[in-house]
């Protein structure tokens, strides 16, 4: 009983439409979660440097707790755990407006925000203080030193690990299928259940992710090369 491939299941019936819908949902989910993650990352990164202990502690707690617990657990937590604690009116509004999407977006954004925070922090820390001191010694004002020296270097140092982390976010959005968000992986399985064709459906889903990730990575790395500062090869380690 060797496997008979039947690729036509991918374009016959509703499959193509489902895949497209899934792709759109994945992109929407990831884009919104990304905005949230970057905002939280910058905010908590900044708060960790303010000279007010409770705020610092809160930011540290956020980063250390949220990035160290599995995303899947956060998905269940935000979708099943939190809504019953909200006021009835808010609950009803949420449930009428795609609660699973918002819970998934929130879980993804809050989780990756904590990780972004670390990436941003280690990027900024990797700029030697002497850079700043040298600029000031050369007669630049603090504002000029930041604008002309620190920021350009920081951006170049941070962009590659942030790209990495953003791709992780995109890939991790697939976990939202567990709370019934109809994203790409969910739709892949939808095709599987309606056509009983696991290999074809999975291949289609996998290829879409692959093309998406590889092309984003390619665009970012060519930008990186284009704006590279000659002689500056230091990279910030950021894996996973």
């Amino acid at each position: 009983m060797s496997y008979q491939f039947k690729w036509s299941v991918l374009w016959s019936g509703q499959s193509g439409y489902w895949l497209l819908q899934g792709l759109i949902t994945t992109l929407e989910l990831s884009a919104l979660a990304w905005l949230l993650a970057v905002a939280l990352g910058i905010l908590s990164g900044a708060l960790r440097t303010v000279p007010f202990r409770p705020l610092r502690a809160a930011a540290t707690f956020y980063v250390e707790f949220f990035r160290n617990v599995p995303l899947l657990v956060w998905m269940f937590f935000w979708y099943f755990g939190v809504p019953p604690l909200l006021p009835r009116g808010v609950q009803d509004w949420l449930f009428d407006h795609g609660a699973e999407f918002w819970a998934g977006m929130f879980a993804l954004g809050v989780y990756h925000g904590a990780r972004m925070s670390e990436v941003i922090r280690s990027g900024i820390q990797s700029i030697p203080r002497t850079q700043f001191e040298a600029s000031v010694a050369m007669g630049l004002s603090v504002w000029q030193a930041y604008r002309l020296v620190i920021l350009p270097i920081a951006l170049r140092l941070i962009v590659p690990p942030i790209t990495n982390e953003s791709l992780n976010l995109l890939k991790n959005s697939s976990v939202a299928l567990t709370i019934s968000v109809a994203e790409l992986t969910f739709q892949t399985r939808q095709i599987e259940t309606y056509t009983a064709r696991a290999i074809e459906a999975l291949t289609a889903g996998t290829l879409i992710y692959l093309v998406l990730c590889v092309s984003i990575a390619w665009v970012m790395s060519s930008l990186e090369r284009r704006y590279a500062i000659p002689g500056l090869i230091a990279r910030v380690g950021g894996a996973g």
Binding site: M1, Y3, E64, F65, N68, V69, P70, L71, L72, V73, W74, F76, F77, F80, G81, V82, P84, L85, L167, K171, N172, S173, S174, V175, L177, T178, T185, T188, R189, E192, A198, I199, L202, G205, T206, Y209, L210, C213, V214, A217, R235, G237, G238, A239, G240
Partner: protein, 225 residues
């Protein structure tokens, strides 16, 4: 409104069956995470070194391997291992095998990148000096480059191990009874999601946080070489 009793009543099932993997179900977070980390890292060393090889027939497949697995979600890899591989091999694979293989293959791509970066962080002069002293290429790698590379790798290596540890929760989607699945099973009859998911979040956090503390201690330790 909240009922912490649900944790007490099901503590044994959650920890012994779910976390440790002792019981009548195939499961256990630790039972999966530890071998996955060890084997994933071992395969990662192979992949990472292969990426640095001079011979294209070794390097190119390694590059493709890394790019492929870093370009797809882990959930997809798990589904491949679960549905497709047994069908092609015509061989049933138990959940434990499915999960372990998926994690090892997937994470090796990430570990491989860390190994590569670690090796590249060792100044070229070190290799040249070792060769000048008469060590062979392999010996220079083993005695000079790898020990230094390993030390440089520690922070990102531990980060990745933590990632893998958390990722084992995804084994629950194939019915492997790990900590997450155990909480789901209990929740299905007690309907106490807030308490249960918060509890397992804390258990995961204790493990991962102590891993990162240990890493920080390792980093601070003065080099012994």
């Amino acid at each position: 409104m909240l009922d912490p009793g649900v944790i007490v009543r099901n503590f044994k099932f959650l920890i012994v069956q779910g976390f440790l993997g002792i019981g009548s179900f195939a499961g256990g977070t630790l039972r999966l995470a530890i071998p996955a980390i060890v084997l994933g890292f071992a395969l990662g060393i192979v992949v990472g070194l292969a990426r640095l090889a001079n011979a294209a027939w070794i390097r190119v497949p390694a590059v493709m391997y890394v790019e492929l697995f870093r370009g797809v979600p882990l959930v997809m890899v798990i589904f491949w291992m679960w549905f497709v591989i047994p069908q092609l091999l015509r061989l049933p694979i138990p959940e434990y095998g499915v999960a372990l293989t998926a994690f090892v293959i997937f994470e090796a791509a990430y570990f491989g990148e860390i190994v590569r970066a670690g090796v590249q962080s060792v100044p070229r002069g070190q290799v040249e000096a070792a060769r000048a002293l008469g060590l062979s290429g392999a010996k220079a790698m083993r005695y000079v480059v790898l020990p230094q590379a390993l030390r440089n790798m520690v922070p990102s290596l531990v980060t990745q191990m933590i990632v893998l540890f958390k990722d084992t929760s995804l084994a629950s989607i194939i019915g492997y009874v790990d900590l997450t699945k155990a909480a789901q099973i209990v929740n299905n009859r007690e309907i106490r999601p807030f308490e249960l998911y918060l509890f397992i979040a804390v258990v995961y956090w204790i493990c991962t946080y102590s891993m990162s503390r240990m890493a920080r201690r390792l980093e601070r330790r003065p080099s012994t070489a």
